[in-house]
Amino acid sequence: MASSIRVRAIANGDITEVQTLIQHPMDSGFIKDDKGEFIPAHYIRELTFEHNGKAVFVADWGTAVSKDPYVKFAFKGAAKGDELKVSWIDNKGETDTATFKVQ
Amino acid sequence: MTRLSKTSIGLFGLIVAIFAGSAAFAASTEADFKQAYAAADAAEKEAGRLRNQWLATEAALAEARKAAESSDFDRAVAAAKEAEALAKASIFQATSENEAWKNLEIRP
């Protein structure tokens, strides 16, 4: 099973720009299925980016983040080849972790 | 766009009204339903041959069957008549489009 996490982390001088796309339904719990029953909420609650063991970005999400969520941020102090560890956990306790190289 | 769609619906709504206007007022029997349904079904099949069925026709046919199952034949007949009217309107549309489609065509 391929990772649910896609990351592009590109260093430009001292600043590394990070773009992330995660495969996740982000069901809000407010939408009904074809049978008219509510699809239970299923959404990522926390997404964390770590560089050298230090959190560089932490996202707390509710149900209003779009399906297959995307987020972009930038941080200082990383160099090309450094590792960026990305983890998420959702409201059902499911989780995924992946490591990416800064390019 | 909105005005266009309203005009279109208005046109077909009128046709539907004309067809539906002939619905019987007296209490309907199962035989009435079967007759009305057969007519609607035949018209819808014809629309199918012309590859131009409407969702509303299918919905009205389903409504007619459902009402008949619960022995509400007044409602069943009314729905079948509506379905027939809708199916005939879709046949009218398909037939008139045999030539009319060319009016929109971009030509060299």
Partner: protein
Amino acid sequence: MKFLISLAILLLADAAAIADGADPAAEARAFREYFFQKFPNVNPDDFVNGPYALNEDMRRQWEEKEQFPPYEFSLEAGKELFAKPFANGKHYADCFPDSGVAIRQNYPQFDAKRGKVITLELALNECREANGEKAISYTGEDMAALTAYVAFTSRGKPFDIRIPDDPRALEAYENGKRYFYTRRGQLNFSCATCHVQNPGERLRAEVLAPGLGILNAMPIYRSEWGGMGTISRRFITCNSQVRGVPLEAQSEEFRDLEYFLSYVSNGLPISGPGARP
């Protein structure tokens, strides 16, 4: 004498074309010209980007999304599916010229042997069946993923749809054209009502895409669907949007429609997979 005969044949051929009302090449030119004149500020190649070619605010939202497009997962899945061998050890690549790489722009094709239009979706399923696999749904995620991958390998290649010198091919094109312009459904809309007469206008929330180049971006990730959709899925949706009972995926009408719409967009680049509202 020879010259006279040639001239006579030419005249006859011309007369035949006029009588049939069938000169696809001239019609395709007129089709393109219509859109170029309607939107003089749009670069011809940009028509493949649908509503984003016509609306600045939407274009910015699209460009933001293209930074990390929502079809990315489907594209990867399609690449894996395409490479995965069938039970008999053969691959999709064995069914197509150039191992199926950069072939999107050549579909649909007219198959002279069978006298019918073969779309990419149909060809993929025929490949499966020829290798003892079950056909997959034309409207499902796997077909969207497969066609996304095939389209991706063709990005930038101009549509190159051929109408061979075969009356049946011409008839298929004509049939597709007729379908495109024919009003249907309770709303009494044709494809052309939205995509020729009113592109750029808002219908409810949507900005209508121009008919020119509309298939170049397929398959598409639609925010409205929350997922990917094939050409089959898009056509079926169109039918139900005008309150008609949708035809079957890959029915003759839909295949011919795809043939017509692709042909008139000849020369415009493949941009699929795409993203739409």
